[in-house]
């Protein structure tokens, strides 16, 4: 999978951990996933699987206390979307 370097990138550590969670918890796990991998079309994530993934990510990155405004209107269609969101939330939590 060739990554689109023109788009903003999440930090390497966060990206790797998010990607592994997304990959292993997918209803249709793929051997490799990249930023362009589509959650629904490629990995067959449905609503309940997305809830499960959200719980896992929150636990992994201890992201339980952030304002709703921080995630309003966020688009979550690809693995890259999740990587960027988690990277931003982790950074804001540390700030």
């Amino acid at each position: 999978m060739i990554e689109d370097t023109a788009k903003p990138q999440a930090s390497t550590d966060v990206r790797a951990r998010v990607r592994e969670l997304v990959r292993t918890r997918a209803p249709n796990p793929a051997e490799q996933v990249g930023p362009e991998t589509h959650l629904e079309e490629d990995l067959h994530y449905d609503s309940l699987a997305l809830i499960d993934l959200a719980v896992s990510i929150e636990r992994e990155f201890e992201l339980t206390a952030f304002a709703e405004a921080q995630v309003v209107d966020v688009k979550l269609e690809t693995v890259g979307d999740i990587e960027l969101l988690v990277d931003r939330l982790v950074a804001e939590a540390r700030a």
């Binding site: 609503s47 309940l48 997305l50 499960d52 959200a54």
Partner: protein, 333 residues
């Protein structure tokens, strides 16, 4: 996946039925829990996403406790029934409740750690106590304390109004509102995964029994309203509604803050639909029973109870329940 199980809970809003007719149906609709190999669901259960398995487990756990509480407290209602026919039906219902309790107990032990309370030293009483201790206050207040209080009043030789209040709590609130909503939630979530056939068959059987109980209850309460007990019935209903709505919403359950987009919409609309159907069924039954002047009051109390449950969620978790937006949307349209 929609199945016969869905059909049973979707069409629960039905005409009341007399006690003997209900008894005849009970005879025709027997089922055996020992015919269900509940352990067949274990592999699929163990492959469920952790969050889903936990939600299903809690839902089944609550069913188990509710059925247990009903089994333990129904007898005085049979003894004090106004007519012999009602007594016969309530005796039959008691057998149903015991069967339901055992079904949920067997299912929990079969798909869980496999330990049976009969053999691991805790005994069923210890197993039950542990589970009551793990439930939120509103659940035990309604299904442990209030249920025992209303039946104790009947047992102590309370007047006829006490019997109608108890039937209101049993048949209209616990069965008509909580059990039906609980079935919908469990069928909705379990239906999205292959391999949980025994759960769905069991739920279908339980739902059919409960539909019979509800019809009987509405018929009995209709007689009660005609005899002048409408105020007592409405009063009990209004008293129980706040905790009952909390049992349906489960404000202690935390949805992830990262629940976004499609998943958030799905959770919200599923919960909104369950509440909407439950509200429609309850108000329809209140009309049929003959609570006419009280129906508007019950509808207002429903709205306030939902708001209170959502506020409870906000207080506990510091963010809005996904349902909050769906309720706001529905109010605007």
């Amino acid at each position: 996946m929609r199945t016969a199980a869905n059909e049973v809970v979707e069409h629960d809003d039905v005409e009341p039925r007399g006690a003997l007719e209900s008894f005849a149906r009970w005879e025709r609709q027997q089922w055996s829990l020992f015919d269900l190999d509940v352990s067949a669901d274990r592999p699929a259960w163990q492959a469920l996403p952790a969050f889903v398995a936990e939600q299903l487990r809690v839902g089944i756990d609550r069913f188990f406790l509710g059925e247990m509480a009903v089994t333990e407290t129904l007898t005085p209602l049979a003894h004090a029934a106004p007519t012999a026919e009602e007594r016969f039906f309530l005796c039959a219902q008691l057998a149903d409740e015991a069967r339901h309790t055992l079904f949920f107990l067997r299912y929990l032990t079969a798909v869980g750690d496999g330990a049976s309370p009969e053999v691991d030293g805790r005994g069923v009483a210890g197993f039950v106590r542990e589970r009551w201790d793990a439930t939120p206050d509103y659940f035990s207040e309604l299904l442990d304390q209030e249920l025992r209080e209303v039946t104790d009043e009947v047992k102590a030789g309370g007047d006829r109004a006490a019997w109608y209040r108890a039937i209101t709590l049993y048949h209209l609130v616990v069965e008509g509102l909580l059990a039906v909503s609980g079935h919908r939630a469990l069928l909705d979530w379990s239906g999205r995964y292959e391999g949980l056939a025994m759960l769905r068959v069991g739920l279908q059987n339980v739902a059919r029994d409960e539909s019979r109980h509800i019809r009987f209850g509405v018929g009995a309460l209709q007689s009660g309203a005609r005899r002048g007990y409408a105020d007592d019935i409405a009063d009990q209903l209004l008293r129980s509604l706040g905790n009952a709505i909390r049992v349906v919403v489960r404000p202690e359950r935390s949805f992830p803050a990262l629940l976004l987009g499609k998943a958030r919409d799905d959770v919200a609309h599923s919960a909104e639909r369950q509440l909407r159907l439950a509200r429609g069924a309850l108000l329809g039954r209140a009309e049929r029973i003959g609570l006419g002047p009280h129906v508007a009051e019950i509808a207002t109390a429903w709205g306030a109870a939902v708001e209170a449950a959502l506020e409870d969620y906000h207080t506990r978790h510091g963010r809005r329940h996904p349902l909050d937006e769906a309720v706001s949307d529905a109010a605007e349209t």
